[in-house]
Amino acid sequence: MKDGRFLTLGIETSCDETAASVVADGRFVMSNVISSQIDIHTAYGGVVPEIASRKHLERINDVIGKALEDACVSAKDIDLIGVTCGPGLVGALLIGVAAAKAMAYACDIPLVGVNHMHGHIAANYLEHKELEPPFMALIVSGGHTEIVNVPDYNKCEKLGGTRDDAAGEAFDKVARVIGLGYPGGPKIDRAAKEGDPDSIAFKRVYLEQGSLDFSFSGLKTQALNYLNQERQAGREIDVNNVAASFQEAVVEVIADKAVMAAERYGQKQIVMAGGVASNSRLRALMEEKAGRKGIKVLKPSPVLCTDNGAMIASAAYYAYRSGVKPDLELDAVPGLEF
């Protein structure tokens, strides 16, 4: 406690960002330190789990130290530690979990494990101070494309998800074949602004009538086939047009299904989360489609869309308040479900 505020330290190491943050009363970001490894993994064209684990270990102390320092607090002011315990890369997760446990033990602070996906949703509590459940959540990232009903704090019901590639994964793969490189999401977003989304007819994959699931692997194959066909015909490939058309095919389906889910469950607001929630076209299309149905769309600012410790702290705060018991035998669970 400091100045009468309940302080939570959030720690996040599930993929390639080493992050820690201090959040007051579950809502106010006092510090948010994110040490990205993107420069290292770019040489490999994607995240290499073993290297990610090694880098997390080297950086975790200073990231936690800086989070405390930036918030002008010391470890003894912290009331609760929250750490991502899954889903994610197991070797990466366990650095955060081991660090959180050691700190919790050394400083006598309660520790709770946080589902990374709950964290992404909680990013919205930091951005929108008035937001309270119930709402529909749309999570789109490098590893996830999910529609989740959130009836209450710390309650999440997954309604649909991807059956193959996540949206961000599809972006990465297509970006690679058209030579935009890694990370694909932001690069496709930028290129698409210069292209025509109607220039190439990529299929919209809606699956069975009423399904809230996604499938993006066919789209990736379609993009590959298109590129081969154009190359064989000796035609020049307009990278911007491919990016725009591909992106449109992905985000249109996502937006349609998110709005369908909100309507089906009578939710008046949709919150967006995850790295791909920063995609400018997805944001615009969501507002357009949801707006037509009188549904409000909330989204965190881009810094809270990427993996960060603040969202984990917020989720930990609400989990602890709703009775989740502190646990020093916490394990890392790479395939943790909602």
Partner: protein
């Protein structure tokens, strides 16, 4: 001094606390690869056994490898954060040296000149070192002096270098320890001459924090300490993708590992 030592590089985790008098208090896991879940409980038990509180610790030591990459990281991360939060220095202890020290008494009573800790790194590979068992001038204490570099060896290369060295001392015996015995006993038996080798019994064969604590106490007394950022794993091997990147053979399989 009260030094906490953490050992998580092998199958079973353990934690020990050692005091100035060399008294060791330990807790060991009986569950395989339970390092992440069990470590804090083991540390707390060892501290409790020692009759102290965690605030009385003066140093925290970790067995830094070689061994299981994941195991190494759990122990080193735990030690680094405890060091930072309790504001006490760290000590790095070589896992192979700790294994040699653990087997030393038995090796000497078996008449061995050399102690050879061998960690199985699969496909005939090992992490190993060779130590000479020597007595201090008062003949009361023995210590393990490194005589061959700790590094990755193919088991065949290790044995051949060891035999060359042993040829200079007729009748010398090498005392093997570590899970390398479990993997390569047949190769060792068929390569070494009869009577020139012995194997550590299973109760002393595997990593344990007690030996880490004994080495750490000496290092603490000698001032060989580190800040938390100085405590680093000793993997002895680059990540596979890094090896391939350097060799120019990075494949798509590495670029996009299966989830």
């Amino acid at each position: 001094m009260k030094v906490l030592a953490i050992e998580t590089t092998g199958k079973y985790g353990s934690a020990s606390v050692i005091d100035n008098g060399g008294h060791v208090f330990s807790a060991s896991s009986s569950e395989e690869m339970n390092h992440l879940r069990g470590m804090i409980t083991l540390i707390d038990e060892a501290i409790h056994e020692a009759g102290i509180t965690k605030d009385e610790l003066t140093h925290v030591a970790a067995s830094v490898g070689p061994g299981s990459f994941t195991g190494i990281r759990i122990g080193v991360t735990t030690a680094r954060i405890m060091s930072q939060m309790l504001d006490i220095p760290c000590i790095a202890v070589s896992t192979l040296e700790a294994m040699a020290v653990r087997a030393l008494d038995k090796a000497i009573s078996a008449g061995a000149l050399y102690v050879v800790p061998v960690i199985n790194a699969r496909r005939h590979q090992t992490y190993a070192g060779v130590y000479e068992a020597v007595f201090t001038s008062d003949c009361e204490h023995q210590s393990a002096i490194p005589v061959m570099e700790e590094k990755q060896y193919m088991i065949e290369d290790l044995l051949s270098e060891l035999q060359t060295r042993m040829a200079e001392h007729s009748g010398a015996v090498a005392f093997f320890t570590g899970d390398g015995i479990d993997a390569y006993a047949d190769i060792i038996k068929s390569t070494m001459t009869e009577g020139s080798y012995a194997f550590a019994d299973e109760d002393l064969r595997y990593q344990h924090a007690e030996a880490v604590a004994r080495i750490a106490l000496g290092k603490a007394a000698a001032g060989e300490t580190l800040t938390y950022n100085g405590l680093m794993p000793e993997y002895m091997r680059l990540a596979e993708a890094e090896q391939r990147l350097r060799a120019g053979t990075l494949s798509d399989r590495i670029r996009f590992p299966a989830k």
